[in-house]
Symmetry: C2
Subunit: 153 residues, 2 copies
DNA sequence: CAGCGATACATGCAAATGCATCTAGTTTGA
DNA sequence: TCAAACTAGATGCATTTGCATGTATCGCTG
């Protein structure tokens, strides 16, 4: 209600974001320096991973772009690289001639799985000793709530 | 104890990290597209911010490098840019001739404050509607605990 | 249904990034 | 004490990124 209370709400939000961001940096730094990403950069793996989670097996480029922190043009060229390596395939979207559907090739699926196995172990090695299972569930809930709220403008 | 329980602990850790990461992407995407970062890229602001928080007003490049997701060489050149713009100053560390201390100039301090004010408001606009104050405090606690654990190997 | 703005993705180009390596200063241990 | 190993940071160079823009398709409106 009072002026300081408004200001402290802003401060709390800022400190929360700062902490979330720094923890992400710390974890990502460890993960990407591991041997799992010698054969494929993390950002490229992330696209393979996103495709592997998708029920239909296909995603539009703009849908992928929402999930990764890359400009549209950078994603377009990242996909060029993946395609050149035979890990994904572009198809024109059937219902929209402008759109491009991306799908994993068999090689892409296998590479994703191989890296994924190692990656998941690396994650567990970092996260499991840091937080209890209950804390992890709460962190999962809070970050998902934040993401959903931000995504919905 | 059973096989699935070990595997589900790994899965929980992976899902927690995934959610943390995606929420970071979603928030960062909004923040960096705002008008606050028209005059200075986010990564460069982050270095100014880090310096502004530091009690002594000076930090070694390798200390800064721990906080940001950049290679050593990229940070070195990012600091070149900041220095060329007159926002920071390099000094040889008095106790270690190899080291470089970085400090804000007056112009750097002012630009950080100006961008910071707007940035903090943007953060609050995204975070405050998403999570209650208690939830933010809990998210802050959990991410800080994770960061501390990961930083300490 | 014609034309105009909007959307999806690609591309030219300048800037930023990372890897490998270099230089210089520091620490270690025989 | 001094050479070898190590650490901090800078730099050459190839790759990646983003901005601005181009091309093709879509959808709306008169």
């Amino acid at each position: 209600m009072s002026a300081p209370s408004g200001s402290s709400a802003v401060r709390l939000a800022a400190e929360t974001w700062e902490s979330l961001f720094r923890s992400q940096v710390a974890v990502m730094r460890k993960l990407q320096s591991g041997p799992a990403f010698k054969s494929l950069p993390v950002k490229e793996y992330d696209v393979l991973f996103t495709l592997s989670r998708c029920p239909s097996g296909q995603l539009r480029l703009n849908e992928i772009n929402d999930k990764v922190l890359l400009s549209q043009s950078s994603l377009s060229r990242l996909v060029d690289r993946l395609e050149k390596r035979g890990l994904v395939e572009r198809t024109t979207a059937p219902d929209d001639g402008r759109g491009v559907l991306l799908a994993l090739t068999e090689a892409g699926r296998e590479l994703q799985k191989a890296i994924g196995r190692e990656h998941v172990r690396d994650i567990a090695t970092l996260v499991a000793p840091a937080l209890t299972a209950d804390e992890q569930r709460e962190l999962l809930r809070l970050t998902e709530k934040l993401r959903a709220s931000v995504a919905g403008h």
